[in-house]
């Protein structure tokens, strides 16, 4: 059975999820430990979902954002970036390496780029220490 890092991908209904579908359609292989949840827009991802995933077995969360292609807002990339930053702050408090959340723009035909992202991110996650996210820091004063 695969020991590839488990990656949760947040995709978007109109742009990046069709890109991920394209990878399947073209039989472009990526690790089966990649799971996808599609949302209307990447700027709607709650940091608590990212933390929930990392605390419940996922090794990393990848946000496949629409970037400038977003049909909802020209500020989508900015909003999504803020979500990543807020999540990383929360992750630091829980002693989770901030590299366990990552964001990149993915278009509706970006099949190969998706595979490359998964491969590269999988490698990055595999190299991170395994224990760090399981052990929160001891409370101050103890």
């Amino acid at each position: 059975m695969s020991t590839s890092p488990k990656i949760l991908v947040f995709s978007t209904d109109k742009i990046s999820d069709p890109g991920i579908d394209q990878a399947g359609l073209r039989k472009i292989h990526y690790a089966p430990s990649v799971y996808v949840i599609s949302l209307p827009c990447s700027s709607g991802i709650k940091p608590r979902w990212i933390i929930h995933a990392l605390e419940h077995g996922f090794d990393g969360v990848f946000i496949a954002a629409d970037g400038h292609e977003c049909s909802y807002s020209s500020r989508c990339a900015e909003h999504t970036n803020n979500i990543v930053e807020v999540s990383q702050e929360l992750m630091k408090e829980k002693n989770i390496n901030p590299r366990r959340v990552r964001m990149a723009a993915l278009c509706s035909v970006c099949a190969e780029p998706f595979m490359n992202h998964m491969e590269n991110y999988g490698k990055i996650l595999a190299e991170l220490p395994l224990t760090e996210k399981k052990e929160p820091p001891a409370p101050k004063g103890e």
Partner: protein, 741 residues
């Protein structure tokens, strides 16, 4: 309803799960039979079965029967991408009397069996996680009803160019009241500036005149010229529009001859913008003599010192006229505001710094103004050199896109030059020629008539230089091994593309239409929702959306008109319930959600003495941008609640015990580190179609009766797994032989 953290309780207890084989597209790699049995054991799953084709009519009927007979309260279909069959199964739910919101589709084909066809066992484990996540999600699903809104059967069309005029006529013919708004004092937009349009060769002005005539015949079109939008409020069905109409300063009752005389005697002249500064016009003017509506306009500011002239024509001119502000309500809006021509910077290929460098739109005006000889600045033009892609496909600038109509427009102009004037030689210095479809005929004609083409690359741009009195165009021609050529040209024409209108940002802010990376208005989806914007009830057509030729502009605006007619026809519209909602108990109104909302869908309200956020259901797009910024987690999107998303995450991670199928050792192949417990069915059929000798792909297809593409694809995979091996090529060297290993 927003659930609090203590009410983590499944809301659905009688779920039906259908796992699709999709022929073999899924079941060749994912053990769907085993999964069907596995989920049958779940507490709240009443039915769990594997089906050959979930989308087949027979299965849809079975599902309806299952839902009704077993009183199912939710269903999960595990098959292909939701983009294909989401609505198919939502309809199944509706037919069975189940609320379609209690349906979840799980994608185990595009996001499981196909991308993991190389690892079938792991694909099965992943599919189990995906299905469990789907079951978890549907367990928390709520029955949502579409939001019904009453709509006014009136449309606003913004921009009376060819796209807007044609759309207004169609909207009116379909029974809608139409307000057609034009910022300029005359209708027609850019095509009125074209003496000859490709491919028909028609005059732009003739098309404008015929459309105007049709508009006059439609009693339910109200045309406003010199009109701008001041304010937009409201939403789908009831947009409140405030417009400002600028006066023409012409007395409506004045005699036509007196108006004509005033135009002739007007003492003030300025550069004529319609003719791009090539001629002068009076302060009382029409864009061109036949411009419509057939009433001139006074540029009042230019006559402020001409008191004698104004006094002489006191009964003709009405210099005290004021701007008029009007308000009306419309159900839907079509934006057809068009484009601006790219304006080269000073010095760009000698523009404005060398006398005889003009743009293509300027040349088009010049051609119309020169009936017999082409003369520019007093000199007869015998040689014209075009430089293509000026301001388009920029590596460094903002305009990365191709303007798609300029190549054909240039070639059409080149043909027009040779037809209209004697002995003109044209040189075309291009990057790539894009005369797609029928327009290729013009390119062939141009080549045949002796036009000369030279290809440059973006990294080595042509140079326009003065050599004494001559203008020299230097180009490194990639068609002749990068030879450096010098062309002496009487006129250098910069083929400029389309850019978004200067006022498009203002329009975008008024209607909240998103702007794309190219700065044109953004549709929801270029293929599937090409004229819809994320703003409900607001559509885009023509070149405000991106470069188009005339016929493409009209096609898109007519598509917009059809969408509006369909939307408004019944007087009510049904809106998707997937929108934001506020937990009034938790909300403490900080305003952060309203700050990030691009659509002003969130407002502060007072409920029982408490100030909280409220969502305008008609305006909210359901993007979800407001949810992550709430510091007290008091806002969420229906169908994307914390329970639904977090339970999906838990579902992915839940441990899966998949029973191994009993394995026949003879059927198992090992290749490298990959083990396979059984060949997929399609492999068995391919092997059955192979003789013991070597076989070509066409022979295998004929023997196995499997689709050609499938055989080709699977043989490659079978080769990788060592099930078959290539055995040379046939005598004609057309096909590889394969043989069983």
């Amino acid at each position: 309803m927003v659930l609090d953290s203590n009410s983590l309780k499944y809301m659905k207890e009688r779920i039906g799960v259908y796992i699709c084989h999709c022929g073999g597209n899924i079941s060749d790699y994912v053990d769907v039979e085993e999964l069907g049995k596995m989920f049958h054991k779940e507490e709240n799953v009443i039915i769990s079965k594997d089906v050959m084709f979930a989308c087949a009519d027979s299965n849809q009927k079975d599902m309806v029967k299952d839902i009704q007979e077993n009183n199912l309260d939710a269903i999960v279909v595990c098959s292909c991408s939701p983009k294909l069959h989401l609505h198919t199964f939502k309809n199944v739910a509706s037919r069975a009397g189940l609320n379609p919101s209690n349906y979840v589709q799980v994608n185990i084909r595009e996001q499981c069996s196909w991308p993991h066809s190389d690892r079938p066992r792991e694909a099965t484990v992943k599919a189990a996680g995906l299905i469990r996540a789907g079951i978890n999600r549907v367990s928390f699903s709520e029955s949502l009803e579409n939001i019904e809104l009453s709509v006014k059967k009136t449309a606003l069309v913004v921009g009376a160019g060819v796209a807007g005029m044609k759309a207004a006529i169609e909207l009116a013919k379909s029974g809608n009241e139409v307000y057609l708004l034009e910022k300029d004092y005359f209708v027609g937009g850019r095509i009125a500036q074209k003496d000859s349009l490709f491919m028909s060769g028609q005059k732009g002005k003739d098309i404008v005149a015929s459309l105007y005539e049709e508009i006059r015949k439609q009693p339910n079109i109200t045309l406003f010229t010199g009109a701008t939008i001041e304010k937009v409020s409201g939403s789908l069905g009831n947009f409140h529009i405030d417009i400002k109409v600028k006066p023409r300063f012409i007395n409506g009752k004045a005699d036509k001859q007196a108006v004509k005389r005033a135009m002739e005697e007007c003492p003030v002249s300025v550069d004529d913008a319609f003719n791009m500064g090539l001629t002068k016009r009076k302060a009382i003017y029409k864009n061109y003599p036949e411009a419509l509506p057939d009433v001139p306009v006074v540029e009042a500011g230019l006559l402020k010192d001409e008191t004698d002239f104004v006094a002489k024509f006191a009964s003709t001119l009405n210099m005290n006229e004021q701007d008029e502000t009007l308000s009306f309500i419309v159900g839907s809006v079509l934006i057809t505001t068009g484009f601006d021509n790219y304006q080269p910077k000073e010095g760009e290929f000698g523009y404005k710094t060398i006398d005889n460098v003009v743009t293509l739109p300027e040349l088009n005006r010049l051609i119309e103004l020169c009936p017999e000889k082409l003369v520019y600045k007093g000199k007869q033009i015998k040689t014209v050199a075009f430089i293509y892609c000026v301001g388009s496909r920029q590596k460094k600038g903002d305009n990365k896109y191709c303007s798609r109509q300029c190549c054909t427009s240039t070639i059409h102009t080149s043909l027009q030059l040779k037809e209209k004037y004697e002995k003109i030689q044209t040189y075309h210095v291009y990057r790539d020629i894009r005369t797609y479809g029928k327009q290729e005929i013009l390119y062939a004609q141009s080549s045949k008539q002796g036009d000369l083409y030279f290809k440059y690359e973006d990294k080595e741009l042509p140079l326009v230089e003065l050599d004494g009195k001559s203008t020299i165009l230097k180009v490194k021609d990639y068609l002749t091994s990068k030879q450096e050529l010098e062309i002496e040209a009487d006129l250098v024409v910069l083929v400029t593309g389309m850019v978004p209108r200067e006022d498009s940002t203002h329009i975008s802010e008024l209607f909240k239409i998103p702007i794309g990376r190219d700065k044109f208005f953004n549709e929801i989806h270029p293929k599937l929702k090409p004229v819809e914007t994320v703003i409900k009830g607001v559509y885009i057509g023509g070149t405000c959306q991106g470069p188009k030729n005339v016929s493409e502009s009209v096609q898109s605006s007519l598509a917009g008109a059809s969408k509006i007619t369909a939307l408004l026809k019944s007087g009510t519209v049904s809106v998707d319930p997937i929108i934001a909602r506020v937990n009034a108990d938790a909300c403490t109104w900080c305003g952060k959600c309203a700050e990030v909302c691009d659509y002003t869908a969130i407002k502060e309200v007072e409920v029982d003495g408490k100030r909280i956020a409220a969502v305008n259901t008609a305006v909210c797009t359901g993007c979800g941008m407001c949810a992550p910024v709430c510091p007290v987690n008091a806002i969420e999107i229906a169908q994307y609640t914390d329970h639904e998303i977090e339970s999906m995450i838990d579902g992915f991670m839940q441990e899966v015990q998949i029973r191994e199928k009993e394995v026949n050792p003879e059927e198992v192949q090992e290749e490298g580190k990959v083990g396979m417990k059984e060949y997929p069915q399609v492999w068995k059929e391919i092997l059955a179609g192979m003789t013991e000798e070597k076989n070509t792909i066409p022979q295998i297809i004929a023997n196995s009766k499997i689709a050609g593409e499938l055989v080709t694809f699977h043989l490659m995979t079978m080769n990788r797994y060592g099930v078959v091996v290539p055995a040379g090529m046939d005598a004609k060297e057309e096909y590889f032989y394969y043989k069983k290993k």
